[in-house]
Subunit: 422 residues, 2 copies
């Protein structure tokens, strides 16, 4: 495993030590990235070691197969990562990265596995997070596994599964009549109040928000390593990523940079497409308007709950990556998203999350315009299991459980409907 | 991949050809097992090839890493198998095999991946299944991926997720006011009526029920290969398996037999524990009464939906395996099951299915009596993702989504409850 050399500000490049817990850059409040001694790593680790290690330790290592490029600590793991890369049944160049196979059913598990691992390493006892839903569920699970208290804040209209997760895992759950931005303010205010009340240091909450500490993005970078390894250590032509907070996209870009420094991959990096819902599309709007950062998106509303992030903290980084790569930031309506969910279920046998379906809708749209060809090598991310959105998807479909109905079983059975056997 | 030598009746050992689709033994209606030329396989395949193949084809192979002991056909795959083997945070000898990471969120994916693969190979166009819920969802998904029509019959009070899956994947869904046994009769009656009406052969449904065709058990045997490989090609002391239809347990036993014939594992096989819910415990009852087969369990009722199988078709095989191995068949109440769900969520960070929690409840019970020690090497199967049972688990907990409530945000934030930000 790798020794952390320092934490580097993504904005002003100031370095701070990882010996103690860090949040944002003390100089400019930029997000911090974990840095290792890449020259040393290049000499001591090889990409071939990864498969060999996984073969030698067959109890599923998941994303920890990349421990040689992750901090040198004992993992708090629930089996996250190394998710399936599924080949489309219809398009020869298309792959779907199925992040719904993660613990707690979403890609959030990767970031929170590493962030909670580091929190445990630092001896933190209270972790707090504002969330669109899935980060809250994942924090609650990993905190339970690590025996650390978690305080989660999420919109009250998240999928029911997110609420239940919080309760089951024993988190301190606050359901907020607002959005993740409101939740974030509440976490910050709580911490401020605790400090003002001279709460003992070990009882003050640590804010484990997206990009406000360095390890969630570090965990999510494993998606970048995986997609390249799963394609035989080659880049695809494009990556389609549903973008709420956008940390996955940022993490993958960091992974590409590291892998190139290590000599593990070369060639042209993929075009990065950031996909949003029309009802909450701050990044797509800023991209269209050619602005360097997003503005707060008013009245955010979409059933793709994970995309309801009106102003992502990493917006400038996301926009920079999208533009550098030659990709785009685009938004699709809830109708287009639902239509893509139905299409993928019926024709590929895959139940997408609404967020994932923003990526598949984008793929269809770019195929239609000719910007993409079916043979272009494209990796779409389904960031969560459709099963986690059972209530919201059914509601979007106007589907209800059929009412109980008693009827005699006819001799020749009709198909469909509810029938009482004799 | 392995060439099928024949299909052998598990009861009378009659052999039939796998050239055409088969259901039950034509002589005695016993379940059929797939047989290969094991002497030839022993000479040509090695367990070391498995990890090497997986390393060379890193797009997640899942259970198809064992293709050398599976039929030689092109897989219909959604990324099933090679699920995490999680080490308990509390008991040094305890491992949890997390089958909730499978496509459609349950172990059913393994059997239906292979059964639909073979159905496609045979050119079958209509597949029908009676189900306690999860097999229906999995059939619907794999049939959609294979472009085959599926007809699914399940109790109308299954988890809502199972109903939604059926609809989304485009299956022909019948919700039945009854149990899986009623569903099974309805499938059989449909097929009988189709035959009597001289329906063209390719339009007659093929009954893909548990143990009524040879390939679902063949797919599920991969759980046995995996658990042994993930423990370093060694047997654990005991395997705890939630038993509805019991095919997973039967499949694992077949895997152990094959692995011994191949020289891949040796030593004492694990004690096999079949776990049920008190509200539907036909196998546990037969075990307690020392009977060779079960009786139909009247008024089956439990929130562990997958265990509501009042008379499993493979009951005699299950009981034989449990007894041969020195294991037990036991049942636990819904209260004990719910209590174990809460315990595992809070202390291990894992959201169990109710079926999986029958296994964890059994582990606790046998630890308490001293029949097991915390250092005994035990593998518990969580057969499905807790997230698939969001509605039923919440109902068992008497938990409802908190009502919307408007309130001003106080300056010092209280914890818990619903709060409107300013």
């Amino acid at each position: 495993m790798a020794v952390i050399a320092s934490l580097e500000c993504s904005r002003c490049h100031h370095h701070v030590s990882a010996e103690t817990p860090q949040t944002l850059c003390p100089l400019c409040a930029g997000s911090l990235y974990v840095r290792y001694d890449m020259d040393k790593l290049r000499q001591t680790v090889s990409r071939d070691d990864i498969a060999a290690r996984a073969a030698a330790s067959p109890a599923s290592l998941g994303m920890w197969r990349y421990s040689s490029v992750l901090p040198d600590v004992t993992p708090v793991t629930l089996g996250e990562g190394w998710t399936p890369m599924l080949h489309s049944k219809r398009y020869p160049g298309l792959y779907l990265k199925e992040e719904g196979a993660n613990p707690t059913g979403t890609f959030k598990a990767r970031g929170l596995s590493l962030a909670v691992t580091m929190a445990k390493h630092y001896g933190l006892q209270h972790l707090a997070v504002p969330s669109a839903g899935n980060a809250a569920g994942a924090l609650a699970a990993y905190a339970a596994a690590a025996d650390i208290a978690s305080h989660i804040f999420m919109p009250q209209d998240v999928p029911f599964a997110n609420y239940l997760e919080g309760i089951l895992y024993g988190a301190d759950v606050t359901m907020v009549d607002g959005l993740i931005s409101d939740c974030a303010r509440m976490v910050a205010e709580n911490i401020k109040a605790q400090r003002e009340a001279n709460t003992p240091a070990h009882q003050v909450w640590f804010d484990i928000s997206t990009l406000k500490e360095p390890f969630r993005v570090e965990g999510k970078k494993t998606m970048g390593y995986e997609l390249v390894e799963q394609l035989g250590w080659q880049y695809p032509d494009a990556v389609f990523y549903p973008t709420g907070g956008g940390v996955g996209l940022i993490g993958m870009w960091k992974a590409f940079e590291e892998m190139e420094a290590l000599g593990w991959v070369s060639g042209k990096r993929p075009k990065m497409y950031a996909l949003q819902a029309s009802g909450c599309a701050p990044v797509a709007k800023a991209f269209a308007e050619n602005k360097p950062a997003s503005e707060f998106f008013q009245n955010a509303a979409t059933f793709a709950a994970g995309l309801r992030v009106p102003k992502p903290y990493g917006d400038a980084i996301i926009l920079d990556i999208v533009r550098q790569s030659g990709g785009k930031a685009l938004a699709f309506s809830d109708e287009e998203i639902l239509s893509s969910i139905l299409d993928w279920a019926k024709h590929e046998g895959i139940f997408l999350s609404p967020e994932g379906a923003a990526a598949t809708a984008a793929y269809d749209a770019l195929l239609a315009t000719g910007e993409l060809k079916p043979t272009d090598k494209v990796v779409l991310f389904n960031t969560g299991a459709g099963l986690k959105y059972t209530d919201m998807t059914a509601e979007a479909m106007h589907l209800k459980r059929p009412n109980e109905k008693k009827a005699a079983l006819p001799k020749s059975m009709p198909v469909g409907g509810i029938i009482t056997p004799q």
